[in-house]
């Protein structure tokens, strides 16, 4: 008989417990057990990046990790970037402004890859943005508008950081759930 396990994950700040098959990937657990469908299934191989989420702040292919492995973790999906009132966060706003989504299927994963990338506060060139997003495939845009959006979001974070901290500010706007090193 299929072994089931109770797994508790804080998804976008809300603790969710589901008892489901022990063999479920985090992606299936989110989509089928918890009805959180913004992480998408695109390949099951870890290649396309449509299922990218943050697990304790780290970018993760949710199709390549078992839900049971991350019991107790904090998971952020693209829907978790959206504010409670439905409005978009600055990165999402730049995606919107730059027409960075067409069919939109890669978008949730792309947003999470970009969020993970921007979390270190480093300023990247366009080439470096492309480099750090190469694990997320898009079939519609040709990537230019996505790079535009991420570049603009980076600019915005730097401006607001400079405004808040002055020139000495470290520019880091880390996601709240980010963790250091291998604390686990």
């Amino acid at each position: 008989m299929t072994q089931t396990v109770a797994v508790t994950i804080a998804v976008n700040g809300q603790s969710i417990t589901r008892t489901a098959g022990a063999h479920l990937t985090l992606l299936r657990w989110l989509r089928d057990a918890a009805d959180i469908t913004d992480p998408k299934y695109g390949c099951g191989e870890g290649v396309c990046g449509a299922c990218t989420v943050l697990v304790d702040g780290e970018p993760t292919a949710s199709c390549l990790v078992l839900a049971a492995q991350v019991d107790g973790a904090a998971v952020t999906t693209a829907a978790g970037l959206t504010r409670a009132d439905g409005s978009l966060n600055p990165l999402q706003q730049e995606f919107h402004a730059h027409h960075a989504a067409q069919c939109g299927f890669c978008t949730p994963g792309m947003l999470m890859a970009a969020t993970a990338m921007l979390a270190d506060g480093r300023t990247r060139t366009r080439a470096q943005i492309r480099e750090d997003l190469h694990g997320n495939l898009c079939r519609c845009t040709g990537y230019g508008p996505i790079v535009d959006a991420v570049e603009a979001a980076q600019e915005r974070a730097r401006d607001s950081s400079a405004a808040h901290h002055g020139p000495a500010g470290n520019g880091s706007a880390r996601n709240g759930s980010a963790r250091d090193g291998d604390a686990r």
């Binding site: 072994q3 022990a22 063999h23 990937t25 191989e45 990218t52 780290e58 049971a68 492995q69 190469h134």
Partner: protein, 287 residues
């Protein structure tokens, strides 16, 4: 999506994983970062009965340096190998190769031990280990043994691990004074498994090569150290490296959808020359 159900066991320590492996036999698989195992499970290429999770096991997450050697625990992630100041300083060949693995997701979850135990001939880390003459500490939970990289990697997805053994740590020499290094790889699409990859180390003295180490990945069932090339290089000036590197000996490239055997062999030879040249340039700067 359509995975045959399996049992899930969590090992608190790596030693416990070995006990679980003995309990469940060959239908059990170890999972750490899952970056190699999970694609195979999702594609139905592996159908384990039991999956033993070591991703939260205690220990083997340390990086230490002593007596000219770097020791890395099996559960150290690629991201950490790439970014840790100790690795970057002590063995930049390793940190650079780790930074080229897959993408940010693979690096954040994938582990050193997992990559070595998977033993893909096109993967970055085994090539580096072969070039460096690294050795791996293995355990069956009751004791440990040390195996050299070239004895560990047998052939495609096959290692010297006994059915109840796991990789505990890796021991490799730190970059010695005057050495230069290089890691080069080519894939059809950026970030994919390489068609061919090369790790090289060169030490120049008096403007000529006095010592070198070079290994190639993707051109045999396992990463291979190219001893003939190393021997033939001694006494060469950096600009003579190209003419000293002949047809590569001891490689057995395969043809597949990504490349033919002849192209792999050709590409490996080009990359060997380029990597040795780059390494010698770094050596010249270091000296």
């Amino acid at each position: 999506m359509f995975i045959r159900p399996f049992r899930f066991e969590r090992a608190e320590r790596l030693a416990d994983a070995c006990e679980l492996l003995r309990q469940h036999g060959e239908d059990a698989k170890i999972i750490a970062g899952g970056q190699s195992l999970m694609p195979m499970i999702n594609l139905g290429l592996v159908q384990p009965d039991v999956v033993i999770d070591i991703s939260r096991a205690v220990g083997e997450r340390d990086l230490t340096s002593a007596d000219g050697y770097l020791r890395a625990g099996a559960l150290v992630t690629h991201a950490r190998l790439a970014a840790d100041p100790l690795v970057r300083q002590a063995q930049p060949l390793l940190s650079t190769a780790a930074s080229r693995i897959g993408n940010a997701r693979v690096r954040s979850r994938g582990t050193l031990g997992g990559s070595l135990a998977h033993s893909d001939p096109a993967a970055e880390l085994p090539v580096v280990m072969m070039a460096l003459g690294a050795s791996y500490e293995l355990t069956d939970g009751r004791g440990t043994r040390e195996v050299r990289a070239e004895d560990f990697h047998v052939t495609f997805l096959t290692t010297a691990l006994e059915p109840d053994e796991v990789v505990l740590s890796v021991r490799l020499p730190v970059l010695g004074p005057g050495w230069g290094w290089s890691f080069l790889e080519v894939s059809r699409r950026h970030g994919d498994f390489a068609i061919a990859s090369v790790a090289a180390l060169v030490r120049l003295a008096g403007g000529v090569v006095v010592e070198s180490r070079v290994a190639a990945g993707g051109v045999s069932g396992r990463a291979v150290r190219l001893a003939d090339v190393e021997t033939g290089l001694t006494g060469a000036a950096p600009d003579q490296i190209g003419e000293r590197v002949g047809e590569l000996q001891g490689i057995q490239p395969l043809s597949d959808a990504a490349a033919s055997d002849t192209y792999r062999a050709h590409l490996a030879r080009v990359l060997v020359t380029r990597a040795l040249t780059e390494a010698s340039q770094r050596s010249a700067v270091a000296a």
